[in-house]
């Protein structure tokens, strides 16, 4: 409707058409970021007004809320990802929200800049999350089966204590390990090296390395005082 109504909006956005926000996948979002997008905007039907009977917009909202948390955890600005609900005739909502979103993203600058991440660091983070996608989907299917009627209720749940606990238990460690694995794939590193790159305490890194070593994922190479991939 924005088109038919000739409402003018930002030129700094490229649209990808899907039939339902439920089709939007975390891999698409991450691919866009790793391809150089500085923000990803998802627009979909209002909750309860599904064009199909599947209510895929609930899943889209859950995806966005979860990945905002993931982003936050690895040091990416969650404001770079936004979901907005609107009906086909809500041209003004579309225009206002994309304009507002693009303005916000422009203030943040290119991805990585406001986060203080160098290009290779950024790449590492995005790769680490991408690797976890299949796992995160299982977590969503098995452990995050919540259903609410309103966006506020979802927001409340996703910012609540129970969610924090689930996130810490199920995802947080995996994010760190995923990054460590990617680093070690390049070359063996010491605990100190890794702790410096990831900005985490050496003892935390050591805990992950130790656990991973027990599972045979990494091994300690005494000669170099470094850890390397277990299967290399």
């Amino acid at each position: 409707m924005a088109g038919v109504s000739r409402l003018q909006y930002t030129t700094e956005m490229r649209l990808i058409r899907v039939m339902c926000t439920g089709r939007v996948d975390s891999s698409h979002v991450l691919r866009a970021f790793s391809k150089g997008a500085d923000g990803v905007f998802i627009g979909g039907c209002r909750l309860g007004e599904c064009n199909y009977t599947t209510h895929g917009n609930h899943q889209a909202l859950k995806l966005v809320l979860l990945f905002k948390k993931v982003f936050e955890r690895v040091g990416l600005n969650p404001e770079r990802l936004r979901l907005e609900f609107m009906s086909g005739s809500d041209a003004n909502i579309f225009v206002e929200s994309v304009n507002d979103f693009v303005t916000g993203v422009k203030e943040l600058g290119p991805l990585g800049e406001s986060e203080g991440l160098a290009k290779d660091e950024l790449e590492l983070k995005l790769k680490a999350i991408t690797k976890l996608i299949p796992y995160i989907r299982v977590v969503e299917n098995e452990r995050l089966r919540v259903h609410f009627d309103t966006q506020e209720e979802y927001q409340e749940f996703y910012s609540g204590e129970e969610m924090d606990r689930l996130f810490d238990e199920l995802i947080a460690d995996k994010l760190v390990i995923s990054q460590i694995m990617l680093l070690l794939r390049e070359k063996p590193l010491s605990t100190g090296d890794i702790s410096q790159i990831l900005g985490l305490t050496p003892s935390e890194i050591f805990r992950h390395l130790n656990n991973s070593a027990r599972q045979g994922l990494v091994k300690y190479e005494e000669s170099q005082d470094r850890f390397a991939l277990g299967l290399s």
Binding site: T11, R14, M19, R31, T54, Q59, S89, K127, R137
Partner: protein, 937 residues
Amino acid sequence: MVTLTKKPRYVDESKCTGCTTCVENCPVVYPDPFNQGISKNKAIHIYFSQAIPLVAYIDESCRYLKDKTCTICEAVCQNDAIDFNQTEEKIELKVGSVILSPGLEPFNPELRQDYGYGKYENVVTSMDFERLLSSTGPYEGEVLRNSDLKPPQKIAWIQCVGSRQVIEGGNSYCSAVCCTYTQKQVILTKDHLEGVECTVFHNDIRSFGKDFERFYERAEELSNVRFVRSYTSVAGENPENKNVIVRYSTFEDGVKEEEFDMVVLSIGLNPPADYEGLAKKFGIELEEHGFCKIDPSDPIKTSRPGIFISGAFQGPMDIPEAVMTASGASSQCGEFLDYRRGDLAIEKVYPSERDVSMEEPRVGVFVCHCGANIGRVVDVPSAVEYALTLPHVVYAQEQLFACATNSAQEITDMIKEKGLNRVVVAACTPRTHEPTFRETLREAGINQYYLEMANIREHCSWVHSKEKETATKKAKDIIRMSVARVCHLEPLQEFELPVNKAALVLGGGLAGMNSALSIAEQGHEVYLVEKDAELGGIARRIHHTLEGLDVQEYLDDLRRRVYRHPLIHVYTDADVTKSDGYVGNFVTEIESEGRSMEIKHGVVIIATGAEVSVPDEYLYGEDDRVMTHLELEERLAAADERITGAQSLVMIQCVGCRNEDRDYCSRVCCSESVKNALKLKEANPEMDIYILFRDIRTYGFNEDYYREAAGKNVTFIRYEPENNPQIEPATSYEDDRNILRVTLPDYVLGKKMEIDADIVALAAAVVPSETTKEVAGMFKVTLSPDGFFKEAHVKLRPVDFGTEGVFLCGMAHYPKLISETVNQAYGAAGRALTLLSHDTVVASGSVCEVEEDKCISCGACIEFCTYGAIEFYESPQGRKARVNPVLCKGDGLCNRVCPTGAIQLKHFTDKEILSEIDAMISETKAVQQADKVAGGV
């Protein structure tokens, strides 16, 4: 023979592309009728932004038409669409039947200067307000006052304007839709204007529709929203700020005046304009209010055979009912014209499809100017040039109008000449022209799914019209993304499955029988399954309708027609034990009178009806003088002297509903009680009758009977649920007879009142029938929160289910009156016929498919697919998910929940979507980089 008069629009529809260049240049500015005259439009304009066809017309304010002084539009139209030589055209049509859907006319309060409309600037009608709320409205969705263009902070709605009035110029009936549309407006207003105060001055609140009671509660519970029960008038205007002064009275405070920034008049519905002319032209009869005269047992028929009606010409109705009657009218036409079905159909033949799967992509790009629509913002020639530099593009050209017939031919020719195997049309939204261009590809012998539309109009030129350079850059980006995507597209087949042309109708009440008859009359076998020993359903207990229909006589006739119909097979004492299959091909097992059998059918109609609840209050079941409204009707019909001889009779409304457990209105009880009261008065005019109510909901024309009852001294007393009537056996103070004493507060006098009753009738809630849950499970359909069946879409698909091939009608959907049941029964039959009248059902090519090697049989996709399109099956490699393409609707939610990416929505696969994302930023370098990232997935 029907003669149509087509007025000249002075614009050639086949040439106009809806670009609106003419509108911008037209010098005549006048009030826009679509926006209620609040904002301005031009003499040449498109009626509204979603108009079909989306082409301009010229109205009588045009200068050329007045005195031939201006032809600007003719000069600026690049497509020569303006034609001032057009004259009125007569078109003669030979038709077998006619459906009249003339709709309604909003009540015009200006005629009587009601409530200061037309006098005070800030008094608007609900139609005006509706436009103010709309994003395509006069202020683009901002609600502003007429007087100062400021957002109002305090708004009042006045209900029943032009309705429920027996004064000159008013309508005696209830318009049935205003209570709920007002609540909708309140909710939207609260969304639009932060902190706004909303007050609704109302009479009864008539939330009788499905889910309407909840909707009312939602509106009422919003902050700063007041519902005030009061007679209301507009007392004047504050000259300083143009605020409107509303005078109203309440029992607590007496008469009060209050100032509002804006007053909205909730205007009612009038019959269509020129209803008399319409009736004369078609030779049909009207009822007293000017709507069509109808028979409550068949409200779609007019008094003249072959002429049918749908929508509000039957009387005031809401969207779902209008849609039901529309499908119903189609079914009646189908019955009427069945002997000629298919006579005018022509089959189109396409050339056979060229197999290009082994070829490298050879992409052709066609960039459309869309007249000036795209061309004057986007540099089309440079976009064409750019397209030629893209990988796999072997041909590109510009077109003035890609959608024009000659342009389509050009595309077909080029596909053949240049050996193209993929096509990008850079033009407008796929929502309008994708089917056109898919057709073009088919005609060129290429699979239709090898088309991609790059939307450089709605997504570019129209929304960046002042930024030519960046818009051109963006258009190139869009084309690049489309080219990337089109290279990955796969040829898809839309395949066809045979339809079993028989119907299963579940439930042999009024709804089921009418559906069955309508389907059978159109030549289809019908299996009618009834759980009781005889047909008729709850209608067996109803004797008359308010309009005077003899229900038992009607029912007998209906039963006779059903039993005599050679194509209807009736099974009584029957249960469904199992059902399998899907649209077009169901297999259902039933047990009838001890025998079990298997029925094969293409569609199902669920018409399992509803029941009357058994009250657990007001001494029901303890004292035999207390009965339900339906029991009262039965005993009255049997001329039971204990009933007709009663001195005093009390009816209590809303028993067992509109409460926490059953948060809905049973819709029919107010009319039922008024009907019983009138019948009682007929039998015994001396009887004192009291109806204790919360809101009297005699919507539509039934309002006239409510008024009649009040006129016959039936006493209506309102009660609040917190202070509901109390009832106890007692002896009368006057004559020592044994009575039931009913006590309740009198809000008018502010004290307790006592009524001595010989009989108490309870308007017991209508509840879903016992079998509802079981049937829902069997046919994979869902229930709404109140336990009735849930339709696919409340307004747009009121007799369909989300599950294809399954339809719904009657009280199984929600309590309703007999005429409404018949409407919906025909509606369901009409919808069923859209499937049964075809030999096959066609499944879209864009459906999901499972790559079995990747499937880990976790079942996530199956659980999320509410269409029931995915099932497990035992493959040689173990249990795997499998998609039934006929049931898949292509939303792709399953893709998102599959942990291994095993299930993919064709035409929107990850590969296709990612290729578009990758092409978003142009460097080829980036593509390689991205592939490296993707390696990790």
